[in-house]
Structure formats: C-alpha cells, structure tokens
C-alpha cells in the first residue's frame, strides 16, 4: 500500500462507526490505522507535505530568515478552516524523537473538508519546528489539530455586507490577512473582493517581503483591494493610517504582527474604535530572565486564577501559597499526578537543573520552578 491519498467517503463512514470504536476500545481506530497508512484516520488529523516553496529567496541579510510556503494534503478528517484561523502542527524531530507542536496560520484561502491548505512559515533561528518545516521534503507526514482561532472574517458568505475592511500587518503577521484577502477574491464576483479593502503591510526589506509577486498582482488588478507596502525603517504611525483610511476607527480592522507594531496600532485605536480592532499576537519563547524575578500566573481555561511575584519555590508550592489547590501526588517527581501545561515562560526542573522555554509544554509542577515570568494552566 504505497498510496498516501486520503480515504474515500465510504471508508470514512465505516471508520467512524460506533461499532469499530467499540471493537478497538480503549485505544481507538486511529491507533491501528496509523500502522497501515499514516494518511488514514478516523478522528486525528495528519497531513502529507506536497511541496515547499521558498518565499524570499533573495533574503539572506542579517536578521532575515528563510520563509517558505508549505502545501499540505490533510487527511479526510480535516474539517476545513475559516480564513484567518491557525492550526497546531506537530512534527517528530529527527534525533531527539520528540514531537514538537507549534501554531501556524493557514495562509491559503478558506478550505473545505479534506482540501489542501498552505502554511507560510518563517524559519526562526531558535524555531526547531519552523526550521524543520521550511527544510521539509515532500512526503513528510505532520500532525495537525483542527483549525482554531477567531481572528477571522466574522460574516458568513450567506449574509455578506459591503463594509470597508482594513488589514494592518507586519512580517509573518501577513499570513492570516493574506488568507482572508485570498478568500474574498476567490469567492467574490469576477475576482473582485466585493467591497473596499485596504491592506497595509510592514516588512523588514523588499527582499524579505513575502507574497511580493501576488501582492503586486493584487495591487495592479481592478479588484477593490488597495495594497500599501512599507519597507525598512518605515514604522507605523497613526498619522499615516489616518491619511490612508480617514475613518479607520469606524472600519473593521485586523492587525497582526510583532509586539512593537501591535502596541502602536492598539494605541491608535485607543479612545474610540477599539471594538473595530481585532488583534493577534505571535508570542516567541522568551529566554530565562533569572531565577526569582518576574511574575507567575496560574490560569484555567483563559481566566487568571491567581498571579504573584515569583518566589523561586516550585510551581506547586507557589500555587498552594496563593491558596490554590492543584492536584498532586508524590511531591517528588515520580507519579505525574501534578502534570499541567505551562503556557509561557522558562522553567527549571529542580531535580535535573534542566531549563526549558518551550511554549505549551507539559510539566510536573512539584519539581518545577519558574525562572522569570511564567504562566501555568491548572
């Protein structure tokens, strides 16, 4: 069985049947299917890399990194995505045998179940997953989540409006906006977005500009989309935005990019129009700041339960000192009862001394102390 094509519809229905689930309990159908063909799945989502295209072949100056668009063929379990959503991508890194999972925005237009999608990924120096993806060979199998996120065009195609739309993006933050604009142009009438669209993007340099050819094409075509590209030291200013879009505070706006840009954009909408602004931040892992500086936050499904200055004690002790009652067992790192997910920050295993700054990492809080700022999901 050499094919890695997704499963036909009848096969899907059988695989998702309750009978098969009961027969394969407690492991589930997927634990058997993956042994036969990694592209067969009943619940889980995986994808095969179809092609990898370098987006900025000329960029190799200091500070610039390779950017590539990776085309993926998901398994038939992929439910499709709305433009602007992201997906968690898990890759088994060769050598360490560890699966690393990171979030990437889908850069292609909205997809339907089973349809191919693209990710556009910048290979950060410290980004093990992004570097692996940018250098991937066709045929590589990756693990996916279903699409997630609300940074999307929130009106359905069934009830379209013709409101003006504004996108302000920087660097890799262009990807969700690109997905939305591509969707508008694809689904609109005669290649038109069907409403006025303003696309304002900031890139490090012309060489580092991704989607340059496509953006030039979009800018030149008669399609209602205006594209403004800013390169180099040209920073965002409220003055310039007001000149381009005088009524920006009354315009639905999507902003996505590095922290510096985002602060300026948020400030520009401060005191009116905040409800028009939707933002998405990309968080990069922060290096260790020191053993007992910073704040420790304990959260549960998005809400902060408690937050306090880092005392340097283990996370379990710090949580208990704040009056929280996280689950625990042996308190010596052997039973895994207290395993929780660290969402942000650097932590140190007090038994091994090993530090880690990976986002979204499972840790045993009884033997883990934070270094600097840290957030833990209890």
């Amino acid at each position: 069985m050499s094919t890695t094509a997704p499963l036909p519809a009848l096969g899907r229905r059988i695989l998702r049947s309750r009978v098969l689930a009961a027969l394969t309990t407690p492991h589930g159908v997927d634990r058997y299917l993956e042994m036969v063909n990694p592209m067969w799945a009943a619940e889980e989502v995986r994808a095969r890399v179809v092609s990898v295209t370098r987006e900025n072949p000329l960029a190799d100056g200091p500070g610039s990194a390779a950017v590539a668009t990776i085309t993926l063929q998901p398994t038939s379990t992929w439910r499709g995505h709305r433009a602007g959503q992201y997906v968690q991508v898990g890759v088994d890194l060769p050598g360490s045998a560890k699966r690393m999972t990171r979030c990437f925005t889908v850069s292609s237009a909205a997809s339907v179940p089973g349809e191919q999608i693209t990710l556009t990924v910048r290979a950060h120096d410290e980004g093990q997953v992004s570097k692996h993806l940018v250098a991937a060979e066709p045929g590589l199998i990756v693990h996916l989540s279903q699409a997630q996120g609300d940074f999307t065009l929130d009106e359905s195609p069934a009830t379209p409006t013709n409101n003006h739309l504004l996108f302000i993006t920087g660097g890799s933050g262009i990807t969700p906006a690109m997905s939305i604009v591509r969707t508008l142009l694809r689904d609109g009438y005669d290649g038109r977005a069907g409403r006025k669209v303003t696309f304002l993007h900031y890139a490090r340099s012309a060489e580092d500009q991704i989607f340059a050819a496509e953006l030039a094409e979009i800018a030149a075509a008669d399609n209602d989309v205006t594209v403004h590209l800013r390169h180099g030291d040209h920073v965002f200013s409220e003055f310039e935005l007001r000149r381009l879009v005088p009524g920006y505070r009354d315009t639905d706006t999507w902003a996505c990019g590095p922290a510096g840009l985002m602060e300026l954009v948020v400030a520009a909408y401060d005191g009116g129009g905040e409800h028009r602004l939707r933002t998405e931040f990309f968080k990069a892992p922060r290096p260790a700041a020191g053993s007992t500086e910073g704040d420790v936050a304990f959260t549960r499904s998005g809400t902060t339960l408690a937050e306090a200055a880092n005392t340097g004690a283990t996370l379990l002790e710090q949580a208990e000192a704040l009056g929280l009652k996280p689950e625990f067992g042996c308190r010596m790192g052997i039973c895994f009862s207290c395993t929780t997910r660290k969402t942000e920050g650097t932590v140190r295993n007090v038994l091994t001394g090993v530090t880690s700054s990976l986002p979204g990492e499972d840790i045993q809080i009884c033997v883990t102390a934070p270094e600097g700022d840290c957030a833990v999901e209890l």
Binding site: A22, P26, H27, Y32, R99, G329, M332, S337, D362
Partner: protein, 367 residues
C-alpha cells in the same frame, strides 16, 4: 528440626539482618542513584522511541492476528495464544509503563500517561492514582501501601493475624484468576468499608468510571467480537475469556514476585516520617525483588522482572532497567545492601510459601 523449620529460622535471621545505613550513607547512596537516573534521562532519544513503537506494532499485530484466527476453528489454540500475548504486552510493557509517564517526553499523545488507557477493566485514571502515587511513593510502608496484600491478603508478619486469613491461599488463588477485576476494585478500598473507615458514598465517583470501563471491555470481548464470528460465537467468547485469564495469571505471578518473595523488607510509618531521598531509594530497593531470565521473558513481564530498578526509577523507560541493573547491583554490594533476585521458580515458590505461612497465626515467642 525439619528443613522447613531451618528455613524459617534463616528467614527470620535474614529479616533481622536488614542492613541499616547512617544518614550520611543514605545520602551518598541516593546521590549514586540520582546520578544513574540523570545519566539515563539525558540519554533518552530515538532508540527508546523506536523501541516502544516497535513493541506497540508487535502487540497490535498479535491483537489483529488473534481476533482473525478465531474464524478458523482448528486454529483456536493459536488464536487464544496470540490474543493472550497481545493482552500481556499491552498491559505490561505498554500500558503499565506508558501510564507511568515513561514516554511522556516524546510528546506523542498516543504514548502519553495523561491520555493512555489500557486493555483492562481497571480505568487507567484510577490505576494511576493507586499505583503511581500511593504504591510507588509509600512502597512497602505498612498502613500506607495498600499493595501489601491489596486489602485482601496477609502478606507480612506485621499485619495482625485474624481467622479470616486462614483463607489466604484461597483468596490469593481467586485474586490470580480474577486479577484484572481485583485491580479494578482496588481503589474502592472494600476492606476499609468493612472496617467502617470508608463509606460507600466515598466510592460513588469511582463507581461510574469503573462501570463505564467494564461495560466497554465486556462489550468488546464478550459480545461484539464473538458476534462477528457468527456461529462460532461460543468458541470466540470462551477464547477471549481464556486470553483474559492467561493474562490475569501471568500478571499476578510476575507482580507477586516483585514484592512478596522472602527477604523483601517492609517499613513502618515512623521509619519513613520525613525520610530523605536516599532513604526513599533504600526503601524502594529493599521493598522489591527481581526475577532473572532471558530477553523475551523480560519483554513479556514489561521489564517488571526488574522490579528493583523499576521502583528506583519508575518514570524511566523500562527497557533501560536491564541496562542499569548490573550497576545498581554493584552499588548495593558496596553498601552491603541486599539485592533480592532469583529465577522465576524460586521466587514463585518463595511467594507461595509466604502466602501459606501468613495464613496461620504467628508462632508465639519461645515455641
């Protein structure tokens, strides 16, 4: 003086000569164990991942083969054998070890202790509490480790005798036959309900979890798979039950050899108050026993034939235990600590003897 009596005396002597270490020696001993642990942790990688994935593949192969062979009535013994091997591998080398968190570092949800549930009527969630936490933290501490006799048997001199324990061998036999059910009921602490220190109300939350798991397991093995073989329904049903029985007997015997052969020490709660890491290691070592054997044997026991190494390093991948066993043994020799090991026959005999001996009231002093 009979031969058995001489053995009794020797055994008593053996218990009394359990070597005590000073606090400094315990710290040094603990540091040596920590060093082994550290070395293995930093060496975990592709070989360990490839190993467990290979075992999973092998087990799935036996599972599918076993289920399929029930369609050929003459191959019935082969089907039962194949399914038994699948269940043993799944419970011992995969389930037990994965649920210990031995492979959590891989980041694979299919091999993660928080996601994995095993092919056993005991819900993984409940087992992890009583086993990973209670048993592995308070190993062989009387009154704390409910794995000493599982609340059913008398397995230690210091458990007060009661006429109920005259049935010790019978209870042990029944526990062996119904082992997975015993494991499933372990968390309900029935003995404490009888004693009145636990109420049925306390068990309410556990009941639902057990019933859900029992239902799923029973539907699979005793309804759906037999039904799929049509007219062969009874044969398949009996075959599945036999495979579960084989797994029960095997798991029971291996596990009993891990903590109950003669010479394994138990500890009092006072001894373990505020214990050091070194003392915890010391207790794990003296509270466990190994079984010698070949590679295949170790695989089929889920490497619990290296119970000592498992108790010293419960969260390290089990395939590492044979690799560090020699070193652990050498360290024990240097500290003059007993390293309890022997072939399966010897350890089984020793366990059986203890089960029978503990059925009877302790001999009064001077008798």
């Amino acid at each position: 003086m009979s031969a058995a009596h001489i053995e009794d005396v020797l055994e008593t002597l053996d218990v009394e000569t359990t070597k005590k270490l000073t606090a400094e020696q315990l710290d040094a001993f603990g540091a040596e164990m920590d060093a082994i642990r550290q070395r293995i942790l930093s060496d975990l990688g592709e070989e360990d991942a490839a190993y467990i994935r290979r075992v999973v593949k092998l087990q799935r192969g036996f599972e599918v083969a076993g289920r399929a062979l029930f369609y050929l009535p003459p191959a019935w013994p082969l089907a039962v054998a194949s399914l038994s091997v699948s269940k043993i591998l799944e419970n011992m080398e995969i389930g037990h070890n994965v649920m210990h968190g031995q492979y959590d570092w891989m980041g694979d949800p299919g091999l993660n202790s928080r996601m994995y549930d095993w092919d056993n009527v005991c819900p993984g969630e409940q087992w992890k509490y009583s086993h990973n936490y209670i048993h592995h933290t308070f190993t062989n501490v009387l009154g704390k480790d409910r794995d000493i006799g599982y609340g059913i048997l008398r397995m230690d001199e210091d458990q007060p005798w009661h006429p109920y324990y005259l049935g010790n061998p019978l209870y042990a036999f029944l526990l062996m036959v119904f082992f997975e059910w015993g494991v499933a009921m372990h968390d309900l602490e029935v003995e404490n309900i009888v004693k009145g220190t636990r109420t049925l109300e306390d068990n309410k939350a556990l009941h639902a979890g057990i019933m859900r798991k029992v239902k799923r397991q029973a539907i699979k093995d005793y309804l759906l798979f037999p039904a799929l073989t049509g007219p062969l329904f009874p044969l398949t049903l009996v075959g599945n039950a036999t495979a579960n029985l084989v797994r029960n007997i095997w798991a029971f015997n291996i596990i009993f050899c891990g903590h109950f052969p003669a010479g394994v020490a138990t500890f009092s709660e006072e001894e373990c108050e505020n214990e050091s890491r070194g003392h915890w290691y010391y207790r794990q070592l003296l509270g466990s026993a190994n079984i010698t054997g070949g590679k295949l044997f170790h695989l089929m026991t889920g490497n619990l034939s290296h119970q000592i190494e498992h108790h010293l390093f419960p969260d390290l991948p089990a395939r590492r235990y044979p690799q560090v066993a020699e070193e652990v043994q050498e360290i024990c020799e240097r500290y003059g600590l007993q390293y309890n090991t022997g072939p399966l026959g010897k350890q089984l005999f020793s366990v059986a003897r203890k089960i029978c001996k503990m059925a009877l009231p302790p001999k009064t002093a001077g008798a």
